[in-house]
Symmetry: C2
Subunit: 288 residues, 2 copies
């Protein structure tokens, strides 16, 4: 496994792989890797010849008041995990502002998917977040030159936006969604779970409990989205609910009645930590 | 000269040119070609092996109340001009919504350069205009596969945004700016000049007269931007002034005093026609 820390080195490695006819798989991450990231590596490993994992805390997707500066970092732990999962390359671009980095000097361009972003779900409280995500993913795809890339379904809106961008810009990359990996008690894995201490760690479980309760109610025949949302709310032990919605799985538009496969998505503050989670809502008879 | 009217056909032609090692030059237009467009073709023709001109009235850059439906069109006249100027290919993508067109079904992605756009110059009255422009130009560049492309300095903000996008996304395309081509009386050439009738045609000249007066005052030693703007305003015979500003030629930020090469830019309504124009402001001793 090699660690590459400039865009030029990554481009060179990628060009070599491609010249050799090798298929490149890619897992972009912000580091502080956990089982969720491992599962994405395992998903791609058997389908590609070379597996690249990037570790980059992307400043474009953080607002000034957010946790960019304190986002958890663990380069050695991350390397060990990548090695264990059979990655061939760890790509660690230098920080923004470095001329050898992802954003050339004076970089200003943004990639944006307004219909899946503006005012929807996480964009309500993080208005420039997905613009930052789409832009960094675009740049990473360019530099890594991958044939296939994996993203966790935990960031469902992100996955939907990336799929749309790749289709619209004809990037020719297979986007694979990996199922959410959970702790034994149901909490969706996240690097930000490291912030949860004491009772907050217990209360954090109420997000997945609420979503599971919605699935249960749907299985019992409740299809009205507002009623399903009330079922979940009864479970929540959070400090502030950012959103709890039932949306179309492709357009992310709000759904009034669950007549076909939809997505229930939640974001909430537990203590000072913002957590997100989501589940599929598949009505009886709609298949899976 | 061949006329190609699907994305697939253009891609195929481009791939053939590239396989033959030919250098491709590109002039994107919205048709209704005039001397300004001709000048861009003449600029590229000697520098490339194959010259492609696109004609596409891009719906993404029009607001609902704007003139998309009535934008002047003249496919036969355009073909004749392209032929005269030695173009090898006219690329006329089908209208948006057509699955063989520039925007695949469900297309939602936008390319945006907020720092050069939001709230600046033309973006004040046309908030999504440059997002539409950058997006269509990105798609055209992808499909045409050009090495070099020419844009008129008349659309100075557009040119600045395209340069930034191409640099940021490392598109590897030389962007050439072509000087503004003017009628004998100074009116900057524009397809929209076709809308100007009678006295409005005369009054339209006041934009370039105002800008020239600014250059004269600068040559006389006036460097204060506000004072220069007043000099130009005294010349204007317009129905509504959208903006008249002195801006940095790279950042498009307002300039208070012209101590290095800057740009004076104007947009105004003459009758119901929106016209734009701009000139370089080069202070004495700053070179050109």
């Amino acid at each position: 496994m090699q660690t590459l820390d400039t865009v030029a080195a990554m481009r060179q490695a990628s060009a070599r792989f491609r010249a050799d006819g090798l298929r490149i798989g890619f897992v972009p991450t912000m580091g502080f890797l956990h089982e969720g990231h491992r599962s994405l590596m395992r998903l791609l490993r058997p389908q590609v010849d070379r597996l690249v994992v990037s570790i980059y805390v992307n400043p474009l997707q953080f607002a000034p008041h957010e946790d960019f500066d304190v986002y958890p970092r663990d380069p050695e732990g991350d390397s060990a995990i990548c090695e264990e999962e059979g990655a061939d390359v760890i790509f660690m671009p230098p920080p923004a502002g470095d001329p050898t980095g992802l954003y050339p000097p004076g970089f200003q361009t943004r990639i944006h998917v307004p219909a899946l972003d503006d005012g929807r779900l996480c964009a309500k409280s993080r208005p420039h977040f997905f613009e930052g995500v789409a832009t960094v993913v675009y740049r990473l795809f360019q530099v890594v030159g991958c044939d296939m890339a994996a993203f966790g379904e935990k960031d469902f809106q992100q996955l939907t936006i990336i799929r749309r961008m790749v289709a619209d810009l004809e990037m020719g990359i297979d986007i694979v969604g990996g199922p959410i990996i959970r702790e034994d008690d149901g909490l969706a894995m996240s690097s930000r779970n490291a912030y949860l201490k004491g009772v907050d760690r217990q209360r954090a479980v109420s997000l997945s409990r609420g979503l599971r309760a919605m699935q249960g109610a749907l299985a019992d025949g409740v299809t009205d989205a507002a009623a399903l949302i009330e079922v979940a709310k009864a479970e929540l032990e959070v400090d502030a609910l950012d959103y709890l919605e039932v949306v179309d799985k492709d357009s992310l538009a709000k759904v009034g009645e669950v007549t076909r496969e939809s997505r229930a998505a939640i974001a909430a503050m537990v203590g000072r930590t913002r957590l997100i989670d989501n589940v599929a809502l598949v009505p009886r008879g709609a298949g899976s």
